[in-house]
Amino acid sequence: MVLSRSRSRSASSSASEKERKSRDKEKKPRKKSSSSDSSSSRSSSRSSSGSSGSSDSSSSSSSSSRSSSSSTSSSSSRSRSRDKENKPKEKEKDKDKKDDTRSAFKTSAEKSRSQSHEKKQKPKKPSKSRSRSGSPRPRRKPRSPTPRPTRIHVGRLTRNVNRDHLHEIFSFYGTVKSVDLPMYDMRVSAILNRGYGYIDFEKPEDAENAMKHMDGGQIDGQEITAAPVLIPRQIPPRRRSPLPMPIRRGPPPRWRSPPRYAMMRRRSPPPMRRRSPPRRRSPRSRSRTPPRRRRYSRSSSSSSR
């Protein structure tokens, strides 16, 4: 927790108060190894997991949180670490850091079980995070059984058929909640039905019974079709939009989002992140120098006068 949080703070403004409070505790682990710090920061910026290897004290309580958030935060931590370091070396450094983290984890693993637990997860993640980031958390809910349909699609209806007819015919099989018989647009024709309709039953058994009997049956001398229709469920909207959509200035906002997401986003952001820091630096450097010069010139000019 300690190390990563502090570092992450500098990298991005996402540091929370909790992280700041833990600063004090972080001092010791910092001294141990800079490489491990950077690596730990990589592992988790928010949670304590990042510095788990180095910090022994807070390991037990934070380990659980680390393990859970480690997978998510690893990507974020990477980005933040990159922000500080040079870009061309990032790749190499990442690898180095990975090695360091591994060694650090190994040493600390002996001390606490929680650390070892993290150790298992962390080395794997930085090395093969892209491929295995999805594996640690399958999060696959057991598929619920397909809901039995209560809605029927009735096709090949003649023009003489209207809603009352359908209601009367199909109420023989059970209580009919509603009948939908779409008509053509008023401009086209006010009286023509589109040749199909939907019937909602109260119970799925009634719907199935109706389908069983009426599919291939006849209404008004014409053979009709009866088929089940799955009532569309309202699927909760997936949170894809927060990732790429928001048009923000710099990379940090983007870095925040990946933790929530999985593999997919990790691949895309890295190149972006690498490029971004240099841009930052150049304007900063440029912006800094001119004012200085101006000051000198002014002073000189003033003095001359």
Binding site: T158, R159, N160, Y184, V188, S189, A190, I191, L192, R194, G195, Q218, I219, D220, G221, Q222
Partner: protein
């Protein structure tokens, strides 16, 4: 429309006359062979509108409206014009005189227009045999939901005005 209409028999291509004639014959045979089982098939509702002398004005059918005098007949797709005419005779005893001419028109809606279109089907004469006697609803391209408009003319008038019988 959501049902395909084939008006082949009435619009033959001269170049393909020979083949068309052969195909026509085959089609008719097929149609005749497809006798509808009236015991097992549900009858369809056929709405018929009669008028004396001339046909009803097509604007009477505008936007789903119908002329006042309607006859509802439950029949099958293999019903002939003669059969339908016979049913009307039962209802209207006035038309039973020999030589009464029934002119049939098929009223079918056009999807994009409010006014339906009328298509001449032929005519029958009470007490006489005609060419159109055995035309079935299936053969004329009837779709369930279409109307039939019948112009009943007394025997005095003789040959119907516009209709030219094919020789």
């Amino acid at each position: 429309m959501w049902a395909y209409r084939s008006f082949g028999p009435y619009k033959p291509n001269k170049e393909k006359m020979a083949s068309m004639i052969e195909s026509k014959v085959e089609e008719r045979k097929d149609n005749n062979e497809k006798a509808v089982d009236r015991e097992k098939t549900c009858p369809l509702l056929l709405r018929v509108f009669c008028s004396n002398g001339r046909h009803n004005n097509i604007t009477d059918y505008r936007r789903g409206n119908t002329p006042p005098n309607e006859l509802q007949i439950y029949t099958w797709m293999d019903a002939t014009l003669k059969e339908i005419g016979g049913l009307i005779l039962e209802v209207n005893p006035d038309t039973r005189r020999r030589g009464t001419v029934f002119e049939f028109q098929l009223i079918y809606p056009e999807l994009t227009k409010p006014i339906p279109r009328a298509k001449d089907l032929g005519s029958i004469v009470i007490g006489q045999k005609g060419f159109d006697d055995n035309k079935t609803l299936a053969q004329i391209g009837f779709i369930i939901g279409d109307f039939l408009d019948i112009a009943i003319s007394s025997p005095g008038r003789g040959i119907p005005q516009r209709r030219m019988r094919p020789y």
